[in-house]
Symmetry: D4
């Protein structure tokens, strides 16, 4: 173990068994992470809170099941994203208490209570029914991260008054996540209505010139509303995670 | 002259100088357009109304001046689009009474009064100040086509209430032309507010992911408002022309 | 209910129970749509006429069936687009009188007579046999909207005389819808032949450099025929809806 | 004036001159914004703070000067972005006390003190010297918005230890803005090092396959660090504005 | 029938029943193609030779079978391209003497002998085994068109001497068709070796940056060998047809 | 000199100074091209006819002048393509008898008579005035190659009867070159009218969705007329060269 | 046989049966490769070492089995890449001793021992679990080429310390192969850490804006680390082969 | 200074002034790079050899001059890439002994002799005259890195025998760098001829479908020659640097 090794080196310096020059030289060669500090883990935030996250896509059902089983042993909550029904069923054989959300394509396991990350709620706004899977992935991720949210669904800009009619939902939110496919214009309108952070999630909803979400992505990146930020196409998970970065505040 | 030639042939049939079989054979070989009918000209609509149109782009100042001079002789009104100031100045030497519109980059010559094409007005809606050149090209074309319009400028969706505040302009219009760059979301919102035809003109306004108008173009094509139609990027002329097709009605 | 709430507020002002200043203040805070007016619905046009429209794509058979059942209760005609045979069969269990059009991939339900939207007919022009599904979606939508149409199919520009031979169909139309894949050149030719509105529908027909309809889309947007407007790739529904906007005229 | 008109209507109700039904009817027809509330302005956030913002690109020097002069009269601070030296010089004739920042291509006018928006600082991280113009646009915008920042420049990932060496700058920040061109990898590394919000700004720095910032944009959108959000290519202004949305917190 | 109608009109002119003026007027209104001439058919060339061609892609097995059955009645040879095995089997039920070529995905029916189009042979050159399906489609089309060809397969430029070793095949050819995927470099090398026409067919062979044939397409279009012409990706049929245009010579 | 070396080796074999085995071994190691045969030159075709060709683009005026001067010494005719006026003027100082064609951007030098390559003429068809530079480059190249051509200009498909009216030009041609920008539909129409080879040249004429010739390129590649072949955008030279390959016939 | 023919010619020269001039003339006409030298084979490197390579993609199971059986007869080792499980099972019927690697999608046959190509090891670095298939294809290819490698997996840059912690693996390597999808930033970081050759393999891992590996590809091509080279998306085989080119050294 | 600080800490441990535990804790908190080791510099390789490298593009002449002046003081050789003539002249005012290479657009300063990096030579192969600027940038970089090279210019594949005629240049090289625009096929041919490393540099030479080097880039990435690696478009510097990584060998 590395901290042990460091301890030993310093003890030998203290005992005069190793000269200062030699110790300096040794430390210079000591591989960085062997010092035992700062082994940063990019899932730290989630894990600190509640959950481990596994990206299901690109992994076999067997791989996911194996990873999940190991995590479950450690008593962590768990979130698997982009997992299809078959793979989920496979995992559930090992972890029968896990829950599959078919629309969100998420599999979750709650073994510990999830503390609230922040007092405020996120407004989760989506344009149409077809955007639901992405919105639900976002919602499930927020749930596992301890983020409350309020929904404002099916308020695409072609019926602008549906949005305005219920705008108090976004008015009272601490931040807004806007999920929209096709031309993705909803992000611009919401961004113009509120001053809080707006995270835009383009979806692959649409056909033809929607080009699998490219139209929405470009539209959101070039939004005429200032300061709207964007995540990858269909990345409901990423938007929830970005919300967590904002809501958590500086430690 | 061809109609003359047809006339002569028929007269010779009537006089028995040419047999029916021979005349049928001749007509079969007669080049189509020599009959003098249906020599379709894609600028017919404009010309019927008032003006000749010259696309300035890709032509030298000398070429434009030469064509314009010839048209002017015929007593036609004239519209040159996409002509820069230098070329316009060159043309104006020959046609001092022509008028250059620097923002629209159009040069117009009115030698005859322009009759109104339709009683109703078109709502010309644009998102931002930078979209003005395209909007003005559209406006100048409509003016030369005898189409009245009412303007609703600088009503981008990031400030949705600016549009709603003045929506009576589009509510009373016979059709709406929406000129917008960046994400082009304005077309969707307008398309949702009114039942009349909406012609969307994406502009090359914006930078980065706007990709010279691609973002707005894709956004307008995938608009969640049903039945919005789109013309080429920056094609204010085309939108005005499409409006004329609609307003003119069936002959 | 909002109008009620407004009514009550005004009554209290009339009774002197609420001061004018207080009422003005209240109205200022009253959410816009609570006033009960202008709840714009982007399907208004269709509904006024006859039908509700459901976009089948991106919805499960169950979701479509549920929405359709609810609409059917209200006595509305109904049009589902982009619905595959399996989903249609599912819906038809609940709504046995609905009719599936396999080529158009539409499901329709007619419970009320559909009034004619306009006296004139639309020319529905298509380039090749493979464009039929899109043309049929357009035709079905027009039928549900009360728009008569006349067909001119398989008149691709590689055999230009087939089109010219039957050009009286487009000559007598109030507007033309041109459905074409591959290079989409038909829109330019039709646009040059007639003065009425031409709505171009690029299709994803073709392979290789057709790039799923991109070639036709770009070709139609850059058509050398002035004033041709374009809808999304394969969007036969959108073209029909745009036709309705034009034919309906200003209310 | 609209609030006046509302006031008058209510007074007439109070005096019994207008019946409740009539007033309800009138209000129904009253154009929305005429009520004088909620005239949302997408620059509200900035204005509340200190400054007006003008996007210089796509406007002539004369247009900018005119707008700026008018704003200056109102005693507002002002920020013009994407303005070149010539246009700036033109504006400075009218507003000699304005200051041009050649690298950032911004023109600023400070007539009132700018209050701090938040106690914490933003870490402004950039990859290379060529990214400076975008980083400086971001810095100038933050300055006008009352946001303190600390710089960490020239820490591209090809020399990863330069970043790690000075990581305390990002460790103590409330949020990080990462400005990088070429492959834009810096956003992923920073996103993995900290839990605070990370706003990534792709720049058009690079050549060939950088495709004017596309490589960096796609790289940042698909970052393997969870919850990194992205703004448009070269949009330093947008990143600063997004930071303001986060730092300002919920009103 | 139209020629009849023309005949009748002329007879009535000859008989004095119709005045010359009236006949001229009538002819003016007579639809062009009703005259019965020039009903151009884009499959004319093939049909003159031997075969009818049906593009199988985008048609149902039933549609193909129906068209094929009708053509077979007329005694024409027939070529169906881009038809999969299932559809072919369906057609073969009706036309048991037709032959399916699984690699080329063609179905052919020979009821009449196919005359040779030209004395010379075409060199059909392909880069790799995976390009075979396209090369075979080309070969089958040439066979049905009466074009002899000589094969030079698997001579990709990575083993340039394999090509040079057998270059007499292209040296003695009247024209060369080069079928290649991946980078498509073979067209440039062949184009440099011979003076005869070179028709390049990019294929969708390859993965990743081959982008479904885009790499080969762009490579062939920008070939450093002068005067190489290109057809669509995977369009073996088109290359054979272009060869027929060249070999047939001017009538 | 290599042929000399080969000669010497064979003489030594004849004299018995070198054994057959040794000679076979030596020849095996002899570098291929040292044998002096088959030094293929990709400009062979042109040179056999009349001219040397220099691609001006990407070369400095000095480089072009140097190459040209050297070629002129050899008594060859010469064609420089894609050379701007300044570079041409530079070259003309050295070669005053050379002729610059400003529209075609070609510089030609004729020191020897150019024999006719073939008795037939090429139909050079172009869509609009802006396509002239490409058409003229093609024309100048054909002139230097000894190919006669007949022009059919400004016959874009939006006025289809202009083309049909003069179709005898393409009807009597041995092959047709079609130069068109925007949607490039002219190639499809011409390809459907004639059986001879059709070489399509997309041009960069157009704006917006024309994407510098991409729309025309894709349109021509996916032409519904069978057997149309395509060269690079704006490559008038390449089309002329391809025509030479066809007209020259097999040696 | 060609060498025989050369032998005979030389013998006839030696015998005086053929004059030197005649022989020189004959040799001039002798097709190049008939001389029997330099028949370059692009799989030479692999074959010299140990194995034949077959690209499975685009070939039927039957084709692969046939080729493999023939190679096996010759006693060569064999590597089939991009072969799916079904095709592999088909081949294994004929070659039961071959081994299928499901993750790498390779089928290998070892009939002879594979000599080590070089004493040093390659560092095979990959970013995430989903990149494993490409990394394994690379590993299997290296194994068949006699290249030792050391693995450093799951060290994506979002957790930069995981890489730094184990950087001795790359520090001691003779070259590094970096396999990464999404933004592909790992190549830049590794390229900055070491001086040895770095071969970057973008993978198609990721979704949305990853565009099937385009994001990683562009990112690696524009890497801010100097001298990183790139192979095609998912081309683990190519990277291993490039490594062999480097390690083998100059013969 | 950090090593000093480490030294002091260890001395205090040795003197018993700091406990082992305290020292371990301090070291844990000590910022990584403060230890003074491993401050990796991505230009290390170059600097170890001879030169500092400055990327001129995106820097002002003043910035370059300032950096260069500072480096010159340190006695380092220097290489500035992508610097235009004006900026170079500016720098040369401060550093008159520096040398500008107009074609390569490099500025070099040699104050110390450059040791040879390796005994072998690199074959620098280029396709056409227009590729010279990139080839020269590569050559100048190699010169400053101490790499000998041999040139093989103007050997594009359209004249394949020109390459074969001089193939001994690549046969004797330790590695080959292939610089080519247009379709970039030269890399595939060279990759098939030799077993040594081949680094392909696509150039932006060409027009139309060359798309600023995209055609060559895609072609090289999908090369049918195994193990060819690719650098960014026009990146002659990067290819030279990659060569240095290979030639330098493992330290």
């Amino acid at each position: 173990m590395t901290p042990v090794r460091l301890q030993q080196l310093l003890e030998r310096v203290a005992r005069g068994e190793v000269s200062v020059d030699q110790a300096a030289e040794d430390l210079r060669d000591l591989p960085f992470a062997d010092l035992g500090f700062a082994m940063v883990d990019h899932h730290r935030a989630l894990r600190q809170g509640v959950s481990e996250v596994i990206l299901g896509q690109g992994k076999t059902a067997q791989q996911i099941a194996a990873i999940a089983a190991e995590l479950a042993k450690a008593g962590h909550n768990m979130l698997v994203t982009r997992i299809d029904a078959d793979a989920a069923a496979e995992v559930q054989k090992a972890l029968p208490e896990s829950r599959y959300h078919a629309l969100a394509r998420t599999l979750t396991l709650e073994v510990a209570e999830i503390p609230a990350l922040a007092p405020d709620a996120v407004a989760l706004v989506s344009a149409g029914t077809s955007d639901l899977p992405v919105a639900e992935e976002c919602a499930e991720t927020m749930r596992m991260l301890g983020i409350r949210h309020e929904r404002l669904f099916d308020v695409g800009v072609a019926g602008i008054h549906r949005l305005l009619h219920r705008r108090e939902v976004i008015d009272r939110a601490r931040l807004a996540i806007v999920v929209a496919g096709m031309e993705g214009a909803l992000a611009s309108v919401v961004g113009g209505l509120v001053d809080v952070p707006v995270i835009a999630v383009p979806t692959s909803v649409g056909y033809g010139a929607a080009f699998e979400g490219l139209a929405a992505l470009l539209g959101m990146l070039t939004s005429c509303a200032s300061g709207v930020t964007v995540v990858n196409i269909d990345n409901g998970f990423g938007a929830a995670f970005a919300a967590a970065r904002i809501l958590r505040g500086k430690k």
